[in-house]
Subunit: 272 residues, 5 copies
């Protein structure tokens, strides 16, 4: 973590990262709820929403679409990722070099590390190279800190999630993207042990509007600095409405209930 | 995918890639139906047909024959490939560097990725290096997107083929070469999830004239931008006639039946 | 070992290295006895104590906090390390390049080598690269010389510890950090076979004040040049008091008993 | 294969490569029939015979002896090879870099590829690097195209040998060294599928004079461009006589019988 | 092997290499017979004896002690080696780069190759890099040619030792260090098949004075050019006396008996 390095992807120190790498990680099945989301233009359009501080995509998507949105979207280059056609011990291919990410216009990099995997060591060494190169380009570094692997009992326990968040600090990430550990206390602990590395909650699979917003509110209250979200936005019928609500919770300190009410009657809804 | 990058291997946005790497991938057995096709000159001559927008060969073939055809053939450097003498988990050796492909005169690169293989991660990382280097040379990038591997159930299902096509977009290919998924709807889905990456149908093993042309017609109607074909051309008695017919279907919008009639009575047939 | 190379991390030829890489190696569980030690600032503050000749941390901690302490703390860059979420044959990821460690301001590098592990050869070759690069930067080289691996019977025997200390000399470390082999004679033997490479005792898990100081006293008497310690300092209620005592034992030649008495009534205690 | 690249190791388009890497591949046992052949000088002297267009040796032999024969012998640097003390799945260590081979004075490189081995992919990638580097130096490229591996049924079948010869063309060798596939028709097929890559027959283990010459005559008649031979020359009592005969068969179009008669009564025999 | 390359470590074409890498390879147990030999100064002092043409040590020992002996000792940089805490298939870590060995002042490099090991290919490729880099620095190259590995029946047979010696020639070593194959005839055979590469006998574990000298005398008579010795010198009570005797046998052509008598009554003994 380097002071100020996350400036390009935060607003007032908080962030909402819209993630759209599902086409690689999960395949087109993730577009089925809202078929038009298979078209990256639809998601790039969403990323122009004021609430979104950065859009995380893989190289090919960025090459093809980012030039049309360079003035309105902040690009977070997700450097690694792997299809789920392959089903071995968790690992992730490095699909994009930092230098080329900078050339395409990215302000930040994203990198998955599966702590506990038999490939942890290799992944961490790849992270080292990417992180240090990102420093040369002045790019922010976000670690997808996901404990996962056959030797790992209880990958989703609060302790393991806190441990993962800590490794993001130890290894030099500016931001740690972690799963919500289940309670406000657990999230507060993860935030505490991450020191100056900012913690953002991972959106996960789609849930009910209010339940989702309450989880985000709780995470923010626990000290998390925001959210990295994909399906919980683009799989909704009214994605701009939920972005309105998330903006209210994350940046304006509204409660989940108030934010939801604001968003469902607001002017953005009409245009959604 | 980078806008305009495929210009050298397309005509009006469509393409017919003649592939001739069978001597490496399958061995001389693929030349048995028409023994003179063992001679690369025969296939380079075919590649001068107007229908062909690029010829895909391995390094050694290009080194030895392309200088004689540089004015009349567009070279697509197939960078990796492996003999089937070896029979392990799907993998492919990188036989040609991008820099040397550019020196030999290639306008595009071709690269196989076996999604789902235990070597997927390694192949994707090799693809990364080749793709980024191709960008520096301004070469088009074609991915042979072939799901294959012991952990992959149903490698030929429409969903898996669509997923593979999507990974071509995500990883930065300008063109995805995929097997035909079996129906027009399935091909349309693969095309849809590939966004700005163009999809071409893989020719596969030799079939009946009309059946083959109908499949191509259906693929084009579904949004595919063309065909990458080897055996379905060079294993025929009258390869120029089928190229005439393919030209009519792919570039002129003729039906399979009309194209076949045109081709079998046309002037090219006489010269075949 | 190169003459004079350890000057930046020694005082009168002796050293007290405060180690704080537990957040990576063991996880937040090591902060539970004194929860505020999860905050690196707390430990950086401790490292400003006169007794401490260097603070060993991972890259991310150094990036985030060292700039605030650059005038008061000597930075030892712990280059490798691994979480214990992963539980395979002992190995350690290289998380930090020497060049970047120098840029961040480190005066020395630390590197773990698990002699006897199936990864020994790989780790030693990584050590080679780091050690030789450190020489170019004029940085001191400290080896965490820890025998560990499935093929190693009796990793904690005096002979094995002495052997590890010797490998630190053979491979070019200026300082070997080894576990205390259990007796003054055994430590003297380890020191003897390490020649001009200085031996420091590893602090290990937290023990009783007097017992700990007596062990350190015994190590110094046996020829060790100091201590590398983490939990035995930061897991105490009064860490500055134990640093006072350690300073007396290591640098001033006091007995454990006298040092403890001095420290527990001294002025530092009040400020702790 | 690049046009004209083989000029340094051919005479009128044909070649006789004297191979002397047996000390590495088989060990001193191959010198037992004629013990003085353990001395490289003896074989370098043979290589000055007019029939020999190139001498293939490993790096150490070239370093030590080639300077004394640089005016009279054309050096073919055999870049890889492995002792048979090791008995795993076929593989071959790269013992010599192309750059250093050029510095020592080689005009050509030789490289073994075991098609069908579990190491095929790695070997082919090493071949890529060597081949492309050889192109920069303008050196000829000879592939020892030897199908071999546990997954390969019938490594010596004509089809497999033809396949191997084809891969030499596909991968960019100027010359393919293959085992004789057993009949003139089979050799003709291997030659045909190799296109512009020249095929030379591998000498193999020592056989009767006339039988050996007849095999060579048959290979030449089938379109092979020569021979790469070791034991069938240096394990003979009168190696210069067999070189005389081989010269007559390969370069002068004599029959095996005439060549043998010429050689056994010729002036060279006396000097042998 | 390159003509004249061994000049720095030979006297009149012969050599006595004092080897002192036992602290890494075997551990401090090798110093137990004469405990002060744990101190490298003691062995560096021995290396100033006129008989010694080079001292072989690992990097750390050279860094720490060679500067004090640079005027009196010729440094042979033993580049690889491994502790016996690890007990897998024979392999050896590369602990020292050639460039840094040159910087430290080495005139020659030493490199172990375990022919027959499952790591043979990797070791030989590492040897290639070191050997070619040594050529650029004009350093002599000594191969510790030690057949060893689970697939090797009879690693100590005369044939296997002769084979190993031959590989040293083939791969480009100036000097091959081999175990004595048991008889003068066997040693003569190893020497013969090594051509211009000089063979030196490995000292092995400590034996009786006269028996040891007779073995050396026999090796020299068989054509070996000297000895590489460690324990048979430094584990003796009077190491200078045995060096006197070895000098007489190796460089002056004395018999073992005469040499021993000379040495045990000579002036050096008094000073030992």
């Amino acid at each position: 973590m380097r002071k100020g390095a996350d400036g390009s992807i935060t607003r007032d120190g908080r962030m909402l990262i819209l993630a759209y790498d599902h086409g690689l990680e999960h395949g087109p099945v993730d577009f089925e709820p809202v078929p038009e989301t298979a078209d990256p233009e639809v998601v790039f359009d969403l990323a122009t929403h004021d609430a979104v501080t950065a859009l995380a995509v893989q190289k090919g998507i960025a090459e093809a679409y980012y030039p049309d949105y360079a003035d309105d979207v902040t690009l977070l280059a997700k450097l690694n990722g792997t299809s789920n056609m392959w089903s071995g011990e968790p690992d992730s291919a490095v699909n994009w070099s930092v230098d080329y990410a900078a050339e395409v216009g990215a302000d930040a990099i994203g990198f998955t590390v599966y702590g506990g995997s038999n490939h942890e060591i290799e992944m961490v060494e790849e992270f080292r190279e990417a992180q240090e190169r990102a420093r040369e380009h002045g790019m922010a570094v976000v670690m997808w800190a996901y404990p996962r692997g056959q030797g790992l009992r209880n990958a989703e326990s609060p302790d393991t999630i806190a441990y993962s968040a800590r490794t993001a600090l130890e290894l030099g990430a500016d931001v740690a993207k972690v799963k919500h550990p289940g309670s406000r206390e657990a999230m507060a602990h993860a935030v505490e042990v991450s020191g100056r590395t900012k913690v953002v909650m991972s959106g996960g699979s789609k849930t009910d509007d209010l339940q989702f917003l309450r989880t985000v509110e709780s995470a923010i209250a626990a000290g998390a600095k925001g959210l990295a979200v994909g399906r919980n936005v683009f799989q909704r019928e009214h994605p701009r409405a939920i972005l309105d609500a998330l903006e209210a919770v994350i940046f304006d300190g509204e409660s989940a209930e108030d934010a939801l009410e604001l968003a469902t009657r607001g002017p953005e809804r009409a245009a959604d």
